[in-house]
Amino acid sequence: MRPLRHLWRGRAGDPAPSRMAYRMQRFWLTPVYRAAVRVGLPVFAVVLGVGLWFHDADNRQRLADLAAHLRDEVAGRPEFAVRLMAIDGASPVVAEAIREVAPVRLPASSFEIDLDAVRAAVAELDAVAAVDVRIRAGGILQVDVAERVPAVVWRGPGGIDLLDNGGRRVAALATRAARPDLPLIAGEGADAAVPEALALVAAAGPVADRLRGLVRVGERRWDVVLADAARGDQTILLPERGAVTALELVLALDAAQDLFARDLVSIDVRNIHRPTLRLRGQAVEELARIRSLEWGTPLPGGVGQ
């Protein structure tokens, strides 16, 4: 047998791969291992490194501090500063209220302004119907407001309030005399029926100069109160349904027979088929006297209907 030493001596010139190199090549040509080595290993190493680094609480704290610092640095740049609040579409009073309630202290960075919170806070104001908040170029916090328009004055349990045509509270009112141009409504639950009240006020146009206001009774129907300087107020009791029709009926009666000029306390049209008048005390006696003259005998009782 030849000596085996030449196997070691001739290693450099031997073109044959060693058993290890041969196996490595075959290993490398296997797709699964290839993918594992080329993708799996680096991913594992990176995840392991990052995981070990984050395992230390100090490192986590340092990273959080660094992030906060960077954020502050960027947020503090003058390009992001907001210095003014511009309010469009609001009366001076409302604008003042908006400035008060908006949860921002200017100047501030635009990163720190929570537009949603501002929007929510402003929308909470009763006088504001719709609001749009945005940051405009030039460092201006722009607030576009649509105000509620007061339609009636409500003398409710909590004082005198202004309501819009949907019944939403707009503002409080010191005295009724502050807004004489608006119709007055009263009674509990009146704010829930403001549209009907407005329709009644519109229907009561012919007697607008005498209209004192509307009273909600039992949270279900309206009374119309007309002022009469000579004799005292007159009340029209309207039904729950078809109140406007009933009021028009009463007004038609007035036009035909001059109803309101008579000495009446109230006109009851709760049953529209049977309008009922209620006379004042003197008028009852007068009616009884006239009837006794006509019929010759006094009527029993003293109630005329």
């Binding site: 073109p15 044959a16 791969p17 190199a21 090549q25 075959r26 040509l29």
Partner: protein, 444 residues
């Protein structure tokens, strides 16, 4: 006999698995070079369906994606002589081919030329069970062949049914479904020495490859180098390798005889080295560049520098004329061809109807062989190159690669062998549960 049947069946199963995976290596372990081809099969979808042999003998089914050749080491006469050396050479070839292919290959089909192949013609005859011949009948007919006593330490390498006869009709290629009473078959059995095969198996196994098939290189070369007509009408393929010269005789598309002469191109090189007193690699170079077997007048004037690094100026400046070189080469080549002639005559070559001879293999490339060979082997001699297959580079399509290409074709389109048929029930050991199962299956 039984374990060979099992191991060959295991190899068949392995080959099927390799074809399913789509990549298989072909290893030609020769005396002078080891070639490795890596074939990619495009799967059963790409194979054309239909019965029997597809068009072009199946070589369209695969594509060569990796080729590597390396100088063989530790192989003599086509047999492994120094196993670690051979293992290294196989590793080199496989690594090169894998690198070119870019895929890992786990299954290899190998061929070798040595190990004293010997052919036997076998005949068997059985009664057909039903009227029509079934595969079971064929298996029984094959099993009915008397096995000759081929001696201790021999193993069957190929056992191919080459002819079937049904009653008085002979020459049937495929008797299945035909009606008759007696089915006779002829089988060609090729046996080789056990030990060299075992060594080759070990060497391949130590390269982490599973063996998926084994073939004689004479057979593989015949498959690649003979054209279809020659295989059909009858021809002999002489594969002139480095350490041994294989010959295979084909008829009606079956190999009917194979043998090997333990002489080859390496002996020519050795003669030159001895005759001219030069190292073997110089002799090999001189043979390849200037060799020939037919001297002419001009060869006397052509001087060939022998070269050398001995330091002796007189020796290193020596030249020989080409005539002298041819004078050394020719007797050896004549000896090889005469030896082949003797083997052919012994096999009854003279009685074959068509006496076409095809010379292939690396040693057949020596110039002038086409003039010399007819003087010894008869007039109908041609030089053959392997069939063209897809993806085979030009460098690997010379006559030296006949066996490798033939092995690729063998992998794509193997010949039916005896072990492709089920063992008939009688051949199972008595008292075997499988025997009972077979008996039940056959009778109900």
């Amino acid at each position: 006999m039984k374990d060979l049947y099992q191991s060959q069946r295991a190899m068949r199963a392995m080959r099927r698995a390799a074809l399913t995976r789509g990549v298989v290596a072909v290893l030609d372990v020769g005396t002078s070079k080891i070639a490795c081809l890596i074939l990619r099969f495009d799967g059963p979808d790409a194979l054309r369906d239909g019965d029997g042999v597809g068009a072009l003998a199946g070589q369209t089914a695969f594509r060569v994606i990796g080729v590597a050749t390396t100088r063989s080491r530790g192989v003599r006469f086509g047999e492994i002589d120094a196993m670690p050396e051979t293992e290294r050479a196989i590793r080199t070839a496989v690594r090169g081919a894998q690198q070119m292919a870019g895929v890992r290959v786990d299954h290899a089909i190998a061929c070798f030329s040595g190990a004293h192949p010997r052919s036997y013609g076998l005949a068997g005859e059985v009664e057909v069970h039903d009227r029509a011949v079934t595969e079971t009948d064929i298996a029984r007919a094959l099993a009915a062949c008397d096995l000759p006593d081929f001696g201790q330490g021999r193993e069957v390498l190929h056992a191919q049914p080459v002819n079937f006869a049904l009653d008085h009709r002979t020459g049937l290629g495929d008797p299945r479904g035909q009606v008759g009473n007696r089915l006779a078959c002829d089988m060609h059995l090729l046996t080789v020495d056990n030990a060299p095969v075992q060594h080759l198996l070990d060497a391949i196994h130590r390269c982490d490859l599973e063996l998926a098939g084994l073939a004689s290189s004479a057979y593989a070369a015949g498959v690649a180098a003979l054209v279809e007509d020659e295989q059909e009408l009858g021809a002999a393929c002489i594969d002139m390798g480095g350490g041994s010269t294989g010959l295979s005789v084909f008829m009606r598309k079956h190999m009917i005889y194979a043998d090997a002469v333990r002489l080859g191109g390496e002996h020519v090189t050795q003669d030159i080295a001895k005759g001219l007193q030069v190292p073997r690699d110089v002799a090999e170079r001189i043979k390849t560049l200037h060799g020939g077997v037919h001297a002419t007048g001009v060869d006397d004037r052509e001087r060939i520098a022998l070269g050398g690094e001995s330091g002796d100026w007189e020796k290193d400046r020596q030249t020989v004329s080409r005539s002298e070189l041819i004078g050394i080469i020719r007797p050896r080549v004549e000896e090889i061809l005469e030896e082949v002639r003797i083997r052919l005559d012994a096999a009854g070559w003279d009685s074959l109807p068509s006496q076409q001879i095809v010379l292939t293999g690396g040693a057949s490339q020596i110039p002038g062989l086409d003039v010399l060979a007819p003087k010894i082997l008869g007039q109908r001699v041609r030089l053959g190159r392997p069939m063209r297959v897809q993806g085979l580079p030009q460098a690997a399509s010379s006559a030296a690669f006949s066996a490798a290409v033939g092995l690729s074709l063998f992998a794509a389109n193997p010949q039916d062998e005896w072990w492709d048929f089920e063992i008939p029930a009688e051949r199972y050991p008595a008292r075997s549960l499988r025997r009972a199962m077979r008996w039940l299956k056959e009778n109900w």
